[in-house]
């Protein structure tokens, strides 16, 4: 559009980020997932050559439009789905190992819990799966349920929970085993704005505790505030990844927002930039604009090809 190199090549800063911190909580290498279609021999490539590194004690946002392969990536990360190609490492171990999964807490993209259990019973059940001792389990379950405002509801059946309550129960469940990594698939889905802000605070709290968080979200403003780094996916491919600052070009790459000028004054600025051999790039300073332009450009290129 502006005669610049394709964004995919431009914005990969994650390697630089990785050098700073040595311990990688999550590593994805050339991760690919093909789903067989009904017609024989044809595949849907839900994830395509995804390479990511998420250092310990950071918050990583995985962004992308619907159907871009975020949840699929997360399922592979948890060993729920087998990659067609590529590798996954959780603190260096494969997610097929139960011990690796013990270090990961998972908030699924929808409340897949047994409706006939109560909140407390669900946590008890998951606690048993985690091999927790009874007394510890009881203590921790009550603590978590209280922390997420479910103290009053914990003896009610999940069938009677509201969407937001189920989501909060999901948090409690994910934190039950005190994992080092939290994988949150759309933690703010179905949560009201106040609740969403609480989720943000909560994730910050997790970072302070030294945990690593991988989250998918469509609330880009929140992600921008919250995450240390993000990756933007479309159609299974990673379009860009890196720290927020790097992606938005605060720092080395100078891209400014110009405020307080009139239309004609702006025209002069543009002319000036062109005289100097540059260009005025209308990329926004916020993640949302970046996201939109990256995705639409990618879709266009896909359309041309």
């Amino acid at each position: 559009m502006f005669g610049r190199p394709a964004p995919a090549e431009l914005y990969h800063f994650s390697d630089r980020l990785a050098l700073k911190e040595s311990v990688q909580a999550i590593e994805l290498r050339e991760l690919t997932k093909d789903f067989p279609l009904m017609e024989r021999g044809r595949y849907l490539r839900a994830v395509d050559g995804l390479t990511l590194r998420i250092p310990e004690n950071s918050v990583f946002g995985l962004l992308g439009p619907n159907g871009s392969g975020k949840s699929t990536t997360i399922r592979m990360l948890l060993g729920l789905s087998e990659p067609s190609r590529g590798e996954i490492r959780i603190f260096g171990a494969s997610p097929q190992e139960a011990e690796a999964r013990r270090r990961v807490g998972y908030l699924p993209d929808a409340p897949y819990y047994h409706k006939f259990l109560t909140g407390r019973e669900l946590l008890r059940f998951f606690g048993k799966l985690l091999g927790m001792s009874r007394s510890e389990l009881e203590r921790r379950a009550e603590e978590l349920l209280a922390q997420f405002g479910l103290a009053d509801a914990m003896d009610r059946k999940l069938g009677a929970y509201s969407k937001g309550m189920l989501q909060r129960l999901g948090f409690a469940q994910a934190l039950l085993g005190d994992p080092d990594i939290l994988v949150l698939d759309e933690p703010t889905a179905g949560v009201d704005p106040v609740g969403a802000a609480e989720v943000g605070d909560f994730v910050r709290g997790l970072r302070e505790q030294g945990k690593t968080v991988l989250l998918c979200s469509h609330l880009l403003t929140q992600v921008q505030d919250l995450c240390d780094a993000v990756g933007i996916m479309n159609k299974g491919r990673l379009l860009a990844s890196g720290s927020i600052d790097e992606l938005l070009g605060v720092g080395g790459d100078a891209r400014f927002a110009i405020e307080g000028l009139t239309g004609s004054e702006l025209g002069e600025v543009a002319r000036f930039a062109q005289e100097k051999g540059g260009d005025l790039v209308p990329l926004g300073q916020n993640l949302e604009d970046l996201f939109r332009s990256l995705v639409s450009k990618d879709d266009q290129r896909g359309g041309e090809a």
Binding site: L78, L80, A110
Partner: protein, 251 residues
Amino acid sequence: MRLFLLLAVSGIVSLVGGLYFQEFNLGSSELRFIADFGFGAMTLLGSIVTVVATVQLLYGEIEHRTILPILSKPVSRGEFLLGKLLGAWLTICSFIGILTLALLAALWIRQWQMPDLGEEALLEQGAVSSSGVLLFALMQCFRLMVLASVTAFFSAYASSSLFAVFMGFFVWVIGQLRGSLDAQWGEGIGQSLLKTLTLLIPDFRIFDLGAYAFGEAEASLVSLLGLVLYAVVYAALYGSLAAVVLKNREF
């Protein structure tokens, strides 16, 4: 669970039905009649409980995706399956247990209602031995354990619960018929082909030990252990196959 209760009730109702129908039978083999009804209930309703419970326990988790958070915990798929199978078996055993108690109670009540069962009557049908009833019930538990494993195998593979239920009952019926099948069909190639095919399916009829309860056959420990071993081997086979399928399944 509601289904479980429903079936338990219908089992008991069928026993009461047995009590009622023996009226037609001129009173001469009441106990035996009642026992037959009880055994029938254990077999037919037991198979329904088994298939439905297993499909619900296993395929239900897949269908409602409740399996996702479970498998994301440090539990292997094999462990998950084993837990589900044990759960199904527990359900089966308690169901059979309820029916057995009801049957023994019905027998006991009838026996008590006709205290001077003349020698003649005793001679005719022989009393129904309660140890025979217990033995029958025990063998049902083992037979249905095999059925549960078979159903688990199909549940792990299925993409609809109807398929799993259907296949469970299909194997059940074939397994029931198996014994009569290879006696049935002609000679030559057809026969040997059929013989091979029948080898593929567990034989469910051999667990029918009704005759022991009526004192018509002697139970030998060796043959009982043989039956148990047979059941365990088949349960393990289909359990392992189910595990293989589950390991390769996407969620």
